[in-house]
């Protein structure tokens, strides 16, 4: 039996890639073409098989993703006066800390190292990596964040 010349349209039809008039026309063709109908049935079965792969049940947001985030401040949720006040307080604190640091001597004490296991925001985990996250936000970043409505600071802990 010769292959139906329209057989190559089956995948396009299944994928919704035909224009509406072409799809209508092909639908009519399918009604009278066992070869194309069989191909479509086979491709549809494959699609159903792929869709049968387990899709983990959605973890409720508030106990799942939200449970792993300390806080998220949404755009516009912080008023300008509070931001200004926060920047002033932070600036004062930094100034005091810098003076204290200079008074004690910069060479004293070991350099602060990033604790083991800290991950930068957005870095994907490697296989076997601990699922505990902590995003260390440097002061400059905190200032930037306070000055902008974009805030996403910490996520901690595992949801296990």
């Amino acid at each position: 039996m010769n292959a139906c010349p329209q057989l190559d349209k089956v995948e396009l039809f299944l994928d919704g890639e035909l224009s509406i008039p072409d799809a209508d026309s092909f639908q009519r063709h399918l009604d009278g073409c066992p070869q194309c109908s069989e191909e479509l049935a086979s491709l549809t079965s494959l699609r159903e098989l792929l869709h049968s792969l387990p899709a983990k049940e959605t973890v409720p947001f508030r106990t799942g993703l939200a449970g792993r985030i300390d806080w998220v401040r949404w755009r516009g949720s912080v008023s300008v006066p509070i931001r200004i006040a926060a920047v002033l307080v932070l600036g004062l604190a930094l100034s005091l800390a810098a003076n204290l640091y200079l008074a004690l001597g910069a060479s004293q004490g070991p350099a602060v190292e990033t604790p083991a296991g800290l991950a930068r925001l957005g870095s994907p985990l490697r296989p076997g990596e601990d699922r505990v996250h902590h995003i260390d936000v440097p002061v400059s970043e905190q200032l930037r964040i306070l000055g902008e409505p974009v805030v996403y600071l910490y996520r901690t802990g595992s949801d296990e």
Partner: protein
């Protein structure tokens, strides 16, 4: 995207992003991490912008794909050593079915391009144009890769079709 819209997107698409990630990595643990990270990125994006994402699923799938690529780059396994054989994961219950293991194995046997195309299309729901854009290849090429991928999968998974 406001908080409500974000939560709806999370509820609506979590399962789909996970399934895509599972097929793309062949590993349930990796899929879980990729899915979580993908939604973290959506959250970060959403918190900083009022602009709606026109096609949230396509956006999520593109992010997930980049994370999968990153994951493979960071892992020391050469590409052919990806978990394309039987899936090794503590979440055995998730993949307890022989059929699902075979599906993942068959997907793992595809070329990178074929795997990308079939997972983005069938599990990510992306159109040819979106796949073309995501992979930087032409629509015709997408069509050819999809055709070959389907031919391979149908042959390997005949028993379940």
């Amino acid at each position: 995207m406001n908080r409500q819209a974000f939560e709806k997107t999370y509820r609506d698409h979590y399962g789909q992003v996970f399934r895509y990630s599972l097929a793309a990595t062949g590993n349930a643990d990796w899929a879980e991490e990729v899915t979580a990270e993908t939604f973290f990125r959506l959250l970060r994006h959403s918190a900083g912008s009022d602009r709606a994402i026109r096609k949230p699923l396509a956006w999520l799938i593109r992010v997930a794909r980049n994370l999968v690529l990153d994951l493979h780059k960071r892992s020391n396994d050469p590409p052919e050593a990806r978990p394309s054989g039987p899936v090794h994961t503590p979440e055995q219950t998730l993949l307890s079915s022989e059929m699902h293991r075979r599906v993942l194995q068959a997907i793992g046997e595809l070329s990178d391009r074929q795997r990308d195309c079939i997972t983005l299309r069938e599990l990510g729901g992306l159109s040819y144009a979106e796949i073309s854009e995501a992979l930087g290849i032409g629509s015709n090429e997408v069509r050819v890769h999809l055709h070959r991928a389907r031919r391979h999968l149908r042959k390997k998974l005949e028993k379940w079709l």
